[in-house]
């Protein structure tokens, strides 16, 4: 169980103080697949980064399985079972796909067939990729899929994926949704996926709409999806104002 209690995050700039998250409280029970969705700049990624320790909240408390992890760094949280798939994963000169999977798994002698298993799940063939460096020679979509494979290799109890579909072609995307579905079915891990894709939203046990630094809606796909569609399709702010006024 992960609990966020009264999380706020503000940043100061010469133009003034900007509030990214406003007093967000949330508990995520084990084994659930939760999708964070909502408009760009609404605070989804910041919220996810706060869970991983990549961003330190200005206020609030984070509990993981009852332990207060607010003061813990990224490494300690990773070692307690939280992992994070970056929206734009970094590239490494001289570090191969196999190296990354090995580091992620924590098993220095990670066998090839395990690597192959993780890569197949993201639609890549191990023979083509294992010894390739994770550098600029790989496309954005390839790096993204390798990123997801590192999370699979890590096998954490709490996995966060920040827009896993971004930069991935339609065919690979279909494979990826299957992987998320499978992962959810076969493991008791909690998954938080930040996504705008209907197919991923449909997989979720629960959808949380983050907007303007707050949790706007929370519910099942059937409950929340019509609200999102109403907001996106029918919601021209000017017209809405006219109708209301």
């Amino acid at each position: 169980m992960l609990e966020l209690k009264h999380i706020s995050y503000t940043v100061s700039s010469p133009e003034g103080t900007q509030t990214i998250l406003k007093n967000v409280s949330l508990s995520l029970p084990d084994g659930r697949l939760i999708v964070f969705t909502g408009p760009n700049g609404g605070g989804k990624t910041t919220l996810a980064k706060i869970i991983m320790g990549l961003v330190t909240p200005t206020e609030g408390q984070i509990l993981f399985n009852g332990e207060d992890i607010t003061g813990l760094g990224i490494t300690e949280r990773a070692r307690r079972g939280i992992s994070y798939g970056f929206q734009q994963p970094p590239r490494f000169k001289g570090i191969t796909v196999r190296d990354l999977l090995t580091i992620a798994s924590g098993d220095e002698k990670l066998p090839k067939d395990r690597c192959c298993h993780y890569l197949t799940q993201v639609g890549l063939c191990a023979n083509d990729y294992l010894d390739r460096e994770v550098d600029v020679s790989l496309s954005g979509g390839e790096v993204k899929r390798i990123e997801i494979a590192t999370l699979l290799a890590r096998g954490s109890r709490f996995m966060i994926f920040d827009e896993p579909e971004a930069g991935i072609d339609l065919w690979s995307f279909a494979r990826l949704t299957e992987t998320f579905e499978q992962l959810h079915r076969n493991h008791d891990a909690t998954m938080v996926i930040i996504s705008h894709q209907e197919r991923i939203i449909r997989l979720a046990d629960e959808i949380i709409v983050v907007s303007g630094g707050e949790l706007l809606h929370r519910g099942s796909a059937d409950e929340v999806f019509p609200l999102i569609m109403a907001n996106t399709l029918g919601a021209c702010p000017v017209l809405t104002r006219k109708e209301n006024g």
């Binding site: 990224i74 490494t75 970056f86 490494f92 570090i95």
Partner: protein, 307 residues
């Protein structure tokens, strides 16, 4: 006699353990510790009065290795060594050089070496050179290697130089002249720390038609160390040349990269790329999310970069 320190140095610089198979010359503190020629590779002392050896590799020698490491276990010592390699035609050989210094005194230990290669037609040479220094006496370890290679028609050399830690000052000079269809590949790996200084001058002269030259240099400068790179590729005929220098800068280090390409023919195709930067923050964060500490992440990134 080789002691334990010598044996450890030999393993570090030439991966030598036990008695190696193949041609061999181990130089220790200016003396010849071991020498072994084979049927196809002959090693002899020079006859012109200079320090060093002549290595003759017969035509058609394939799949053989030749080890010529140098170790220094003294302080207050300097040497200037000349080794000449004459590689015949149609050979495919590997030459493992390298120098290790264990300087436990407080004075300077210095090795200057000039290696000259004459590589015959259609021969391929793999040449590895590792430099390593250690010692706790506060004395300085200096190595100034010069390598000059002449590649005959269709010949090629793959040169790998590695200097990881322990060398306080190095001034390296490498020149490769490529004949028709010849190919030179230089990969350089360098890590400096403390207040070390490393300078590397390279010159690849693409003289012959369809010759190729490629330099891949990766370096890391830590603490207050300084590095200067001046790789030059000159194209005199239809040829292809590529220089790629990548450096990671840390602490208060300073790095200067001055690649130059000169075309003296309209058919010369030359490229240079040089990049210097610190370790990207997101790289460190990514590895931390995989359970490494910040320090372990940094080490892993450097290890990969210099691999």
């Amino acid at each position: 006699m080789l002691n334990e320190i010598d044996a450890a140095l030999l393993q570090k610089i030439a991966d030598l353990t036990g008695k190696p198979v193949g041609a061999l010359n181990i130089r220790k503190d200016g003396g010849c510790e071991a020498r072994q020629s084979t049927e196809h590779i002959k090693i002899d002392a020079r006859t012109d009065g200079k320090q060093g050896i002549d290595i003759h590799i017969l035509d058609g020698t394939k799949g053989e290795k030749c080890y010529i490491p140098v170790i220094i276990g003294k302080s207050d010592y300097a040497e200037m060594v000349y080794n000449d390699f004459y590689v015949g035609e149609d050979c495919d050989v590997e030459i493992v050089a390298g120098c290790g210094i264990h300087n436990s005194g407080c004075d300077e230990a210095r090795h200057d070496g000039v290696h000259t290669f004459h590589v015959g037609k259609n021969s391929h040479v793999r040449y590895a050179e590792k430099h390593y220094g250690e010692g706790d006496g506060g004395g300085t370890n200096i190595m100034n290697p010069q390598t000059v290679v002449y590649l005959d028609e269709g010949a090629s050399i793959q040169m790998e130089t590695v200097q990881i830690r322990g060398i306080d000052s190095t001034k390296r000079y490498t020149k490769i002249v490529c004949g028709k269809g010849a190919e030179a590949l230089i990969t350089e790996r360098l890590l400096t720390h403390g207040s070390q200084l490393a300078e590397s001058d390279m010159e690849i002269v693409l003289d012959g038609e369809d010759s190729k030259g490629r330099v891949i240099s990766r370096s890391v400068a830590q603490d207050r160390s300084r590095q200067v790179f001046r790789p030059i590729v000159i194209g005199n005929d239809r040829c292809f040349g590529h220089v790629q220098c990548d450096a990671i800068i840390m602490g208060e280090a300073k790095i200067e990269a001055v690649p130059a390409i000169t075309a003296n023919s309209t058919e010369a195709q030359l490229i240079h790329e040089a990049a210097i930067g610190k370790i990207a923050g997101d790289q460190l964060l990514k590895l931390q999310t995989l359970g490494l500490t910040e320090e372990e992440s940094e080490d892993r990134i450097l290890k990969g970069f210099l691999a």
